[in-house]
């Protein structure tokens, strides 16, 4: 590529603070109806996101990838903002931990089904989804 893509502001924000806030060439987010890729000077956009993988292309060689939970995406005036309920950098995914989370949540869900526990079913399903998501993303990058 002769000329580099122009950069624009990208932010990935969770309730526990911004996971990424800086300049990038492109950002790809898991839209509810399919992946959405956004470059600089994209038209204003508002979209919903499902749990999946969010990729921020800093330049041709450097790509940051995050396992993200469900959320929302907004593009305005050369600024893209992804609001998600959780985001983990794929390089920092702890497989063991994610697997343990998954096991714990599944076991709890079985107890709920058996009427032995009063834990919140919906919360458990969310935990399972997020754990599976982390495992899926890390599995794809390592294998």
């Amino acid at each position: 590529m002769a000329e580099a893509h122009p950069k624009f502001d990208v932010a990935l924000v969770t309730p526990d603070g911004a996971v990424f806030d800086g300049e990038a060439q492109m950002v790809v987010v898991p839209g509810a109806a399919g992946e959405i890729g956004v470059l600089a000077r994209h038209a204003p956009l508002v979209a919903t996101l499902k749990a999946g993988s969010t990729r921020i292309h800093l330049d041709e060689n450097e790509i940051l990838e995050f396992a993200t939970g469900p959320g929302f995406f907004k593009v305005e005036l050369d600024r893209a903002l992804a609001l998600v309920d959780d985001a983990v950098n794929v390089k920092e995914i702890d497989d063991e931990r994610a697997r343990a989370q998954l096991e714990a949540a599944k076991a709890e869900l079985e107890r709920v089904d058996a009427g032995e526990s009063t834990a919140d079913r919906w919360q458990l399903e969310q935990r399972i989804k997020h754990a599976e998501n982390q495992l899926a993303v890390s599995g794809r990058t390592t294998g």
């Binding site: 603070g17 919360q123 969310q126």
Partner: protein
């Protein structure tokens, strides 16, 4: 009068207590700092969320979503007091429960029914002790609430609201003003106030500059997904505020306890020295009296 030995033992015991209260004060101060940071960290998310809702709300043609439904007759109200899992925080938990029960009384006078959702072990045990029926309980995380905890609570109260089991959901919690001050606050989280969909003239102007947004899917559909997340965010903020307040209250309570212990040690030491002096004087008198008797 207590003997020197007794006083010595008591002083030692008060000293040990002071060590504990001092340590707890330091721990609370560290946790308070962390809680404050988390409130700050949430701000960009919450603000963007509010902007997004206003923007999408403007774009939606008709907004008739269940979470926005303002019911004509409020018959049942869910009260959600946010308390701590542990005590030793001064009047922190008691204040919340006192306000909650006062609210319950005034609602019952108006002929409304009250349902309870307990958050925090302290609140739960008070409610169980007073034989209130709980429609939900969330325990064991008030030291460090996670977003998932807020999601669980939000999901439960939204369910209660949309199923028509309750017509209003009110949070009672301490808002964090400073380490020394916490304010007990009542906040209606459901139904969602239609105000959040409205924007002022200034925002409308900047919005026009940005041109029309592409919505994917339809704005109404996005709003349908945004509103539950808005409730989660509101509850998460309340949980964080409550945690910061709890640590602030504990820090103050422990500081006072350490101070009291210091004063107690001073008084006891004085008393011990007096007792020892009296003992010595007594002994001298006895020796002198004995010597006199011999001559």
């Amino acid at each position: 009068m207590a003997s020197v030995q007794d006083l010595k033992r008591r002083i030692q015991s008060v000293r040990n207590t002071r060590k504990i209260t001092r340590a707890m004060e330091l721990v609370a101060a560290a946790k308070l700092r962390r809680a404050e940071q988390r409130i700050t960290a949430l701000r960009p998310y919450a603000e963007t969320m509010a902007e997004l809702i206003a923007g999408v709300g403007r774009a939606s043609s008709s907004v008739r979503l269940p979470l926005l439904e303002q019911r004509q007759a409020i018959e049942t109200v869910a009260l959600v007091p946010l308390t701590g899992d542990r005590g030793l925080a001064g009047a922190f938990n008691a204040q919340i429960m006192r306000r909650a029960f006062a609210l319950e009384r005034s609602l019952q006078v108006e002929g409304k029914t009250v349902r309870w959702v307990a958050v925090g072990k302290k609140g739960r045990s008070t409610l169980v002790f007073r034989r209130r029926d709980l429609v939900g309980e969330y325990l064991g995380f008030t030291d460090r609430p996670a977003y998932e905890d807020a999601q669980a609570i939000a999901h439960r109260v939204s369910e209660l609201f949309t199923s028509g089991e309750v017509d209003r959901v009110t949070l009672i919690y301490n808002t964090y003003v400073s380490a020394l001050t916490q304010r007990v606050t009542e906040q209606d989280v459901l139904p969602i106030s239609p105000d959040i969909l409205e924007t002022d003239e200034e925002e409308r102007a900047t919005d026009a500059l940005r041109g029309d947004f592409i919505f994917e899917p339809e704005p109404e559909e996005i709003l349908r997904r945004l509103l539950p997340v808005y409730v989660e965010t509101q509850i998460y903020r309340a949980l964080l505020e409550s945690t910061a307040s709890e640590q602030g209250a504990r820090m103050t309570a422990m500081r006072n306890a350490s101070k009291n212990a210091g004063e107690l040690i001073d008084t006891l030491t004085l008393r011990m020295n007096r007792a020892r002096q009296a003992e010595i004087t007594q002994e001298i008198l006895e020796v002198v009296a004995g010597a006199e008797a011999l001559t």
